[in-house]
């Protein structure tokens, strides 16, 4: 993951991406106990002009450093890394407000726990619901924080359904 952190910082410094932040399971582990995962997911913002080949400069940057595609990801050290361009107002905000963490001496931006929970709510699969429960159980985010953020992003009904299904007696 140190290698991933170094690559992401270099990519941003070179202007290939304007910003990045880890999300998904690797980000979740900052707040909860470890979870098994197949790859590392990274939200990215790409500087304008944005074209249909949004990820091409990223792939070229990685290829120049010897990192090859592997399925829908790029292998960086031990990890296949999936680059996901921001795809909603919610993910844009999550990227902008991500925290800078320290990963063995290397700065690494990570999506905040409340944004992780609400992104998971917006996706709405079983694994996503497990992520929300894990984040709540770890006290890294409160029900009230999730409710407020969900409401701001048009997910109030989804949160109400989640609470009724998993949290209310």
């Amino acid at each position: 993951m140190k290698e991933v952190a170094e690559l992401l910082n270099a990519m941003r410094d070179a202007g290939v991406i304007s910003e990045y932040a880890l999300f998904g399971a690797i980000a979740q582990m900052r707040y909860t106990e470890p979870v098994a995962t197949l790859d590392a997911d990274v939200l990215v913002a790409v500087p304008p002009p944005q074209t249909l080949e949004l990820l091409k400069p990223i792939y070229e940057f990685c290829a120049a450093r010897g990192h090859r595609p592997e399925g829908a990801a790029i292998r960086v050290g031990a990890w296949p890394v999936q680059f996901v361009p921001v795809f909603s107002r919610l993910t844009q905000e999550a990227l902008e407000e991500a925290e800078s963490a320290d990963f063995e001496g290397i700065p690494l931006r990570v999506v905040r726990a409340d944004h992780l929970a609400v992104i998971a709510l917006s996706v709405g699969g079983a694994k996503d619901f497990a992520r929300i429960l894990g984040l709540l159980e770890s006290s890294s985010v409160s029900r009230e924080q999730v409710a407020r953020l969900a409401a701001r992003h048009g997910l109030a009904d989804a949160w109400t359904r989640f609470e009724a299904r998993f949290l209310n007696d």
Binding site: G24, R30, D41
Partner: protein, 71 residues
């Protein structure tokens, strides 16, 4: 104390230890089990050609039980 209660207490202690790890330690733990998870995934989906090809972003994990940790 029943055997079941002893088992649950051992499990709770183990989970607390895991949750108390630093973030890099937890990521290294995930690295260690990643290849096994990939093999299991391939075994379940024989038509899948790549580890990540058949899944949507942010959902490749196999959640385990989660407990408190505020690293």
């Amino acid at each position: 104390m029943t055997e079941t209660r002893k088992l649950l207490e051992r499990q709770a202690t183990w989970q607390k230890r895991r949750a108390a790890l630093t973030w890099p330690e937890k990521v290294h733990m995930a690295e260690a089990v990643r290849e096994s998870a990939a093999q299991l995934s391939r075994a379940r989906s024989p038509m899948t050609t790549g580890v990540s090809a058949s899944r949507r972003p942010g959902t490749g994990e196999v959640p385990t039980r989660q407990t408190k940790n505020d690293n």
